[in-house]
């Protein structure tokens, strides 16, 4: 099913979705756009390239409360925080970010013990993917083509959206999307020209090129394994790294977390919060031993985790080439330049 809506009427669609559940959509904030829960339908703003933070927080929030407890009281009195999973709509997600959900699904929702929080949020959410504007130049940090993702790839979205001049075309991809779109009153019927435009756009998306060529993940994984002990290489790559961890926080596929107890006046909450392998105490053991005291060891861990260990464990690279880590690194470290250098090392 294909429908359309004028972009200036997008707040009407937002209002309908807000009635049905929680709407998360791009909003212009001081430093740039971010996905936030929409409380005012007028705030939805699709005039963005990509958000500063990835949309992973829709399923894996920065802080997820597990349980509320009273310090020193029996465990039976502690109250697990139950997820209020009413339907949610994640609106305007770029194809590379949609792909990140599939990668995270393997970790949280398929392999070994299932993470109940990720699963519950994921199942309750309908994803509105949104093609990059291929009439505009690609950002120089992006390299999603390298990972086999294109600018207008509808795969993984429930509903996929394409911009046509001052209108938005919405195409259903999954039965979940089909069901929802049929219920939305704010949408208009499309013409044959619209249908043709949509199909053409999807085709043209494949030709829209980001930097770098496709890589063979097995070749990269093996190469990284072979240069693990090349301390000179990793020292050179990490020479300017500040260990600030921003690359991991903005990353759509970084999932490391800490579990913290936060107490006040005899009451407390146990939560998980995002953590980062770039921090010195991330691997500090109770004995005092720390296998990664040096910056190069931590940067090596991050790069090897994404481009080697994750392939060995789950069969896929844990990166979608969204370019956020490169754009937002305060000292211009570019993960893909590291991969290129590694292949030549």
């Amino acid at each position: 099913m294909l429908k359309r809506i004028a972009i200036e009427k997008i707040s009407q669609l937002a209002a309908v979705l807000m009635e049905k559940g929680t709407l998360l959509a791009p909003v212009k904030e001081v430093a740039g756009h971010n996905f936030v829960q929409i409380l005012d339908s007028q705030k939805v703003d699709l005039n963005f390239y990509n958000t500063l933070m990835s949309p992973k927080s829709a399923f894996f929030p920065h802080k997820e409360d597990f349980v509320k407890y009273k310090v020193g009281k029996p465990l039976a009195e502690a109250e697990p925080v139950l997820l209020n999973c009413k339907p949610a709509f994640l609106f305007g997600v770029r194809p590379c970010d949609v792909k990140s959900f599939e990668i995270m699904d393997i970790h949280f929702n398929a392999a070994g013990i299932i993470d109940p929080y990720w699963r519950a949020r994921r199942e309750a959410t309908t994803i509105f993917g949104y093609a990059y504007d291929i009439s505009q130049p690609v950002d120089s940090a992006d390299f999603y083509n390298t990972l086999g993702i294109n600018a207008a790839d509808p795969e993984g979205s429930d509903i996929f959206m394409v911009k046509k001049d001052k209108e938005l075309l919405l195409k259903t991809i999954t039965p979940k999307g089909e069901k929802l779109l049929a219920e939305l009153s704010a949408l208009d019927k499309v013409s044959t020209a619209d249908e043709k435009y949509f199909e053409e756009y999807i085709k043209k998306g494949k030709e829209y090129k980001t930097r770098f060529n496709c890589v063979d993940s097995e070749v990269v994984a093996k190469k990284l394994e072979s240069i693990f002990d090349n301390t000179d290489f990793w020292t050179k790559m990490s020479a300017v790294c500040l260990s600030c961890g921003i690359c991991t926080f903005v990353c759509p596929t970084c999932y490391c977390f800490d579990i913290c107890d936060d107490n006040m006046f005899g009451k407390g909450t146990r939560s998980r919060v995002w953590d980062a392998c770039m921090f010195t105490d991330f691997t500090l053991e109770a004995s005092g031993h720390n296998p990664r005291t040096q910056v190069y060891q931590r940067l090596r861990q991050k790069v090897c985790h994404k481009y080697s260990y994750h392939i060995r464990k789950y069969g896929v690279i844990s990166c979608v080439g969204c370019g956020r880590c490169t754009r937002q690194c305060p000292v211009n470290i570019d993960i893909y330049s590291i991969i290129e250098a590694a292949l030549k090392a």
Partner: protein, 285 residues
């Protein structure tokens, strides 16, 4: 494990044993408050669990009791705090019998019992790192299990006699004829009548035959470093030397991304590895 793997099950401290003369290592015997939790907590020697105290946090600790012991589960815990705050272990050490904490688990793989069956087993332990080895020894010595294993040799060392764990059990094992127990201390005192010497030297002296034999070794890195060459010289292959790794952990279920060594998560894929398996991993531990 309950439906939500992050929510601990309540247990009560049934017994506390002050193990060493420095009073910083205690064995805690826990009984489950819910019968259902006890039935679900099926473990094997070598596994660990997260001990959980609301308001303090969680610590991953190896299970020191054997699954052949019914009705309780034991953990031997050292009070941390010299380098890290040691909030959980300190709080636990300050608790009394009857106190209540939480537990999540069991977690990780275990000593590979099927692989060990019909083989001679040499257990080498040093200092505090004897807890899951004790679990394994008691498992193998259980009357229903003893015949499944060949000769059992235990070589256990501590810095001083007062730092030896499980003293009553060590004495009981020494009296048995179906286990060879060799206890050593780095430095004895006026009352110590036993052996003196470092674990590597004692291993050399005991010189177990590598024929159909597996060595299971846990101890401080310095002990492992000097003991492994002894076993290589005796002819043990890397496949037949097993150890248990430590890494900082949080979730214990392979999700939080903290304890990886290469593509293996120590909490899920380990903590037990053979030297041959470790050799395939990057030196990142």
């Amino acid at each position: 494990m309950s439906n939500n793997p992050y929510i601990p099950m309540p247990v009560q401290i049934a017994k506390i044993i002050d193990e060493v003369d420095t009073h910083d290592i205690k064995t805690f015997r826990f009984s489950f408050l819910n019968k259902e939790d006890e039935q679900n907590f099926k473990y094997m020697p070598g596994q660990f669990a997260e001990l959980s105290i609301y308001g303090k946090g969680e610590s991953p600790i190896g299970i020191a009791s054997s699954p052949t012991q019914q009705g309780f589960v034991e953990f031997t815990v050292q009070r941390a705090g010299a380098i890290v705050p040691g909030l959980v272990t300190s709080a636990l050490h300050d608790m009394s019998e009857g106190g209540e904490i939480g537990i999540r688990g069991p977690m990780g793989n275990s000593w590979p019992i099927e692989f060990l069956e019909k083989k001679n087993i040499v257990v080498v332990g040093g200092g505090f790192a004897f807890t899951t080895l004790r679990s394994l020894i008691n498992y193998m010595l259980h009357k229903e299990n003893r015949s499944r294993f060949g000769e059992i040799t235990v070589i256990y060392g501590a810095r001083t006699p007062g730092l030896l764990l499980y003293k009553d059990e060590l004495a009981a094992w020494e009296k048995r004829d179906d286990i060879k127990t060799v206890i050593t201390v780095d430095k004895g005192d006026e009352t110590w009548k036993g052996r003196q010497g470092f674990v590597p030297a004692v291993c050399k002296e005991v010189a177990p035959s590598p024929k159909n034999t597996v060595t299971v070794i846990c101890g401080p890195p310095i002990m492992i470093k000097f003991t492994l060459p002894v076993f290589f010289e005796l002819g043990f292959s890397k496949e037949n030397i097993l150890t248990s790794l430590e890494m900082r952990m949080k979730c214990g279920i392979g999700k939080c991304g903290r304890c990886n060594v290469g593509y293996k998560y120590v909490c899920n894929d380990g903590p037990v590895f053979s030297l041959a398996q470790l050799e395939e991993l990057p030196r990142d531990f």
